[in-house]
Amino acid sequence: MTFNSLSFALFLPVFLLLYYAVCSRQRLRDVLLLVGSYFFYMSWYWQYAGLIIISTVIDYFVGRRMHRATSKKERKFLLLVSLCVNLGILAVFKYYNFFIESSHTAFAALGFDIPIGYHQLLLPVGISFYTFQTLSYTIDIYRKQLEPEESLIKFAVFVSFFPQLVAGPIVRAKDFLPQLSRPTFLSSENFNAGLKLVFIGLFKKIIIADLLAYLIVDEVFKDPSAFSSWDLLIGLYAYTFQIYCDFSGYSDIAIGVALMMGFKLAINFNRPYISQNPSDFWRRWHISLSTWLRDYLYIALGGNRGSQWYVARNLVLTMLLGGLWHGAAWNFVIWGAFHGLILVLTRNIVVEERFGVKMALKIFINFHLVVFGWLLFRVSDVNNFTAYITGLFEFSGGSAVSSLVYMLLLASAFMHFVPKIWHENLIGRVIDHQGLWVRSTIYSLMLFVFIGASIGAPSFIYFQF
């Protein structure tokens, strides 16, 4: 059930009505949240709900036991259990085929032909997200930064909370569990803000991301040799905004739906393409993941302490694993390595405070580094990458791109590169200051446009992670 599907359009109002009816009774509310979240997940592939149950039960008991344990050895052992179970499930379901194939290729290069046995299991949706979420819980308890949750139901809701279950943001227990312990706070302001975020997210997803994918991105990446250099460049820019609108659109909807239920989730994107260096970019892009990697991987590896080479190693390793988190394929690993490398090389570039030529230049250069990174991220294999790069630098003329693509790119650029207050004012004038009837009409019209524009309703890109 994706957020832009009919199933979700039917599920959400029914769920919200039930939720508002029971939310004053905390226990009942928690049970409903749990049932709703599992229903949401099982509507995709019911068998894989078992994996979330395993992660939930293991981490719940490990967390409680770890909190009670007095010896460091036992705490370490319990942490190891949690890591092995969670990362083990991830390794089997997400990375097994990749490792088997890579080993086979490596051995073949050395002249050994080892037998190859793939599994035919589908990748469970959102497995990387909820695995990181539960891991952060046990690591925080191990570090004595968090008290374990007493209620299994509340903990299960934290792991499976449906708005952010399949594609984030990755929520930390210390941010979310206290909200579950408090009585639900509902307000019309929160509801309106949440609903607005849902519509903004749908707009980003259906109108910008899906259309860019259909109108140019999928085609130029399928056969780059069929397009001129200009079209390939536009295709690359289009993908840059497609992936942003796709993923940040999902996050907006997740945050919006949670807000309609009285929960506050932290923002996951903050106009990442106006960042001035790669480090700035990772403070603005997929914030919940980058802070997770920083807190649980980079710092665990040693962080900024040590020599320059040591820090560089930590950065590259963190980004390599961050790349692998995105998918079981070499292009994600290379994309991670590329970001690790540019993070190392640009560590001394400072972020300008005031707008000027320097800032504009830094944004321009960093934007194009990120764009190149997306090329590595999107290509299907080495041949695809070579064909794209060759076509890009052939400087061949002509264009087959529809003018609609330029309009969508302009709209995306407007979202990014003009001061935030401008589009906030614009949205405020169009929606916030209107009466209920006008707002309802605007939302209804938007729904009509979304339905009309949904061509086959492709999945959110980040579902595969």
Partner: protein, 346 residues
């Protein structure tokens, strides 16, 4: 949204379309007319006669019986029965003629074959005329664009299957309009292709061959036809936007140019198969293709188109009938079994 849907539905109902809320006006009108005039059941379909053509007896006399195997082109529910080409053929036939219109909207060749197999022993047609192409191309595009196997797995493993609700909502007038005006225009802006992959040629050929074989096995003389569309490469630029947007509702892979190119290519294949297999061929493409004034959209004929096609088919079929008198002789032997079956039914 509901108000908007109701208004659109009422408008569609008045235009004679099938609407989820108001149903089909045409059928209601026909029902009431037949009651008023006392002419009940002149045309099917009915519970005992599943064809949209003049009701005939199962017992075959001297008349030539023609089975029309097609889809919405020959069913055309928004036109009165007497105006569609299958039911006009006999108007231009010299001698006795009866038609069984085994065509339904969305019916593909396997559907045509199933229907023929089901009723051939009861009605014993002499000729089975196959007029199919756009649906084959539509299904081939569907197979190209959707990973059907993956979708099936998803549906099987979901606890929330809403495919019926989805199918219902897709029949609503608002959806149809949005799909035409927004979805259609957007689709036309994309990189639609100018050809189906060559591998699909063999799929097309297999389907035509299976129809030929089924007909022959049942003692019916198969007649292949080429396909006619409203536009060809020479006048494609004149195709109105409304027809283009309607076109991409059914064709998500091919551009209008790609589609007319494929029609031409498959028509050439039909000619080749007919010549190789010694089957009768009626070249409708050469007579009617690209004559947009004979169509209501890109594949469906208007009343004049139906009339001209009926004349053309009647002329050609009459020639075939005179050439293949032996057909009837063969049938007299092979239908002994079916006569028994029929009497058993009675």
């Amino acid at each position: 949204m509901l108000l908007c849907e109701l208004t659109l539905e009422y408008r569609h109902y008045h235009k004679g379309f099938n609407t989820p809320i108001f149903g089909v006006k045409e059928q209601q009108k026909e029902k009431s007319n037949s009651k008023k005039n006392g002419q009940s059941h002149e045309y099917g379909p009915s519970s005992v006669f599943p064809f949209r053509s003049r009701i005939i007896e199962k017992n075959k006399k001297d008349n030539v019986r023609i089975w029309i195997a097609s889809a919405s082109h020959a069913e055309h529910i928004t036109l009165p029965q007497e105006e569609i080409f299958p039911n006009k053929i006999c108007d231009f036939w010299v001698g006795g003629c009866e038609v069984l219109n085994g065509s339904k909207a969305g019916m593909s060749i396997p559907g045509n074959i199933d229907l023929l197999n089901k009723y051939v022993k009861l009605y014993r047609p002499d000729f089975s005329v196959l007029y199919q192409m756009s649906l084959i191309i539509e299904y081939q595009q569907g197979a190209l664009l959707n990973n059907i196997a993956e979708k099936a797995i998803e549906n099987r493993n979901s606890i929330f299957d809403i495919s019926h609700i989805k199918a219902f909502l897709q029949t609503t007038s608002a959806y149809q309009h949005l799909s035409d005006y927004i979805g259609g225009n957007l689709k036309l802006e994309g990189f639609l292709k100018n050809r189906l992959p060559k591998t699909y040629d063999s799929d097309f050929e297999l389907q035509i061959m299976s129809f030929l074989e089924t007909s022959k096995q049942n003692g019916v003389q198969p007649v292949l036809t080429t396909f006619a569309a409203s536009h060809d490469t020479s006048n494609l630029s004149d195709m109105p936007l409304s027809i283009r947007t309607n076109f991409v509702r059914y064709n998500s892979y091919l551009s209008p140019l790609g589609w007319v190119t494929m029609i031409k290519h498959y028509n050439d294949l039909v000619r080749e198969i007919a010549s190789r297999e010694g089957a009768f061929l009626i070249d409708i493409e050469s007579e009617m293709n690209g004559k947009s004034w004979l169509f209501v959209d890109f594949v469906h004929f208007n009343p004049e188109g139906h009339r001209l096609l009926a004349i053309f088919l009647a002329q050609k079929l009459q020639v075939f009938a005179s050439r293949s008198n032996t057909v009837n002789e063969i049938k007299e032997d092979s239908y002994e079994f079916s006569s028994n079956l029929e009497s058993g039914d009675n």
